[in-house]
Subunit: 334 residues, 2 copies
């Protein structure tokens, strides 16, 4: 039985979608238990009609809510009766093995770091983002914002943790690891990536060299390591350009009657395209390197996206990712 | 009369498209003169049928060609009879005021830096990329690869040069300058951008703060400054995701008969969308901060893209960008 603590009040549409997503997950996986943490009087009514799975759900009352606008570190320190801090506490105390939250990214990272602590020997925990690729797979980008200033050793640590994740969760036997760069040659990059290149080559990982950003959506690597500043820029630019293209496409398809009819006929194609590119389908962002399985779901997650994030947390438990990282994610000192 | 030196042998389809693009430009602008630099016996035949503009074109023979695969610095140093080095020489000697090349990016940058030299007081010349935005305008991203390791002062210098370009070439009266970052708040970013934030706020430029990558295609700023490593990643990811989306869209539109008919009817909409997103339409990448107007056109430019790059070089001359940068692009020491 896998027990997952749910920050039921985190995210733009909480607690409605967090509870609905949790109920779907309970129905999909009978080895799953959830602890729904948050304002009980708001959560309880949403469980009506879920009698079939209620024996595997518990509500844990917590009065406060961490807002996106407040300082993450302050919130984690002072809002001790918040749904997020209480949910993290359940993981820390061993009541749950994983946390899923659609709340503030900064607060989830701070909570993971300060309350769960980093795994001994891991240089720096990292926030990873699974990105959809054109071949229907995904590439794991590490880091996307936990470490904006990085040493080359951190990138090696990201590569080890990312490989463990892709192997255990996605079933990629030997994940191809690439260093995000500005050219394929070893000598291309900044000071940090050139030093990291040398470390990765000697790492024993399946290092495939530098990869330009355009190779990421093409699926040319399974794990792509980069500092959290450039990684966040890549992540946000992919979101931005996707949004921009769909906006322009919609405008153009409404520009003439002929195009409108065409768009209607091709509607199925557009929605399949959208779902292929949908980050919700691949799940949330795992925080790797802390003592517990932590998934940060998108703040604007709907019930299905939140369900996917819970499924992903369950896969991390099933694949024993935290223990694998404890054992092998960390050879940088050896 | 504006005289532009053309690296006629640079790029994937040279000299065919460089000569055709030049002839189109001569026809479009009667205040333009071009010096076509390269293997005369290959260029000359391509000018047949262009008698109407031949009085404003001259062929300057150069025997060597700089390849994409060779070391840029070595090529600039040793291939002194290459079309690129000779064309840069014409700018240096004042025979031409601008250079347009679709050749190796590294060699164009190295040639600009070492043969033309940086403008006194400019911290570091930068390669800028105009990106199309959803509102039909463009955003200038500076730097996209000339400086992979940056000090905060360089970013300020990029902002001044980028503002001068957008004002003089694109007619944006007061360009909005943003710092590419990972969150809008001043305290978000890495060490470099946090320090640059403070410099930009005091700069007298129209600084609008940090901008996340997704805001760039939305047109939320006119000039976006960033170090050349992250800037190159943003540029390449936009290219990559655009390509990925069109690839997936094509696949989906061929997946059923119904979708195929729809696609046929909406064909005009798709091609308008493509041209709106086409980097060729906005031109090549200006190398800002060197003693001369330098445009690096895409290596795979067709004749129209190369024409656009020449038009852009002419606009830089018309707007007197190099002298403006000499005068005001450089207050970082003041």
């Amino acid at each position: 039985m896998y027990t997952i603590a749910i920050d039921a009040m985190g995210g733009d549409f909480a607690p409605d979608i967090t509870v609905r997503g949790s109920v779907s997950a309970l129905r999909a996986f009978d080895d799953l238990r959830v602890l729904l943490v948050g304002q009980a009087e708001r959560i309880q009514p949403l469980l009506e009609g879920a009698q079939d799975v209620l024996d595997r759900a518990a509500v844990v009352d917590a009065r406060e809510i961490v807002e996106n606008t407040e300082s993450p570190v302050m919130a984690i320190r002072h809002k001790t009766d918040s749904s997020l801090v209480r949910a993290i506490g359940l993981v820390r105390e061993g009541e749950a093995a994983a946390l899923v939250s659609a709340g503030s990214t900064g607060a989830v990272m701070a909570g993971g770091l300060f309350r769960l602590g980093r795994i001994k020997g891991v240089e720096r925990p990292a926030l990873a983002a699974p990105l959809p690729t054109v071949n229907g797979g995904q590439a794991l980008l590490v880091d996307v914002g936990a470490n904006v200033d990085c040493l080359p050793e951190y990138l090696l640590s990201f590569a080890r943790m990312g490989s463990a994740y892709m192997r255990q969760v996605m079933g990629v036997a030997v994940p191809r690891v690439a260093l995000l760069g500005i050219g394929e040659e070893a000598e291309k990059g900044n000071q940090q990536t050139k030093a990291a290149y040398a470390l990765l080559r000697e790492s024993g990982l399946h290092f495939v060299g530098n990869l330009e950003a355009r190779g990421v959506p093409m699926g040319e690597a399974d794990v792509v390591v980069v500092d959290g500043f450039a990684g966040n820029i890549l992540l946000k630019s992919m979101e931005g350009i996707t949004k921009a293209i769909f906006k322009l496409l919609k405008e153009e398809l409404h520009a003439s009657g002929r195009a409108k009819v065409g768009a209607m006929l091709a509607k199925g194609a557009f929605s399949r395209l959208k779902s292929k590119l949908d980050p919700d389908e691949v799940g949330g962002a795992p925080l790797l390197g802390v003592n517990g399985a932590v998934i940060k779901a998108h703040g604007n997650s709907g019930a299905h996206a939140f369900f996917c994030a819970i499924r992903q947390a369950r896969s991390m438990l099933e694949g024993d990712v935290v223990n694998i990282i404890r054992r092998e994610g960390n050879h940088s000192q050896s």
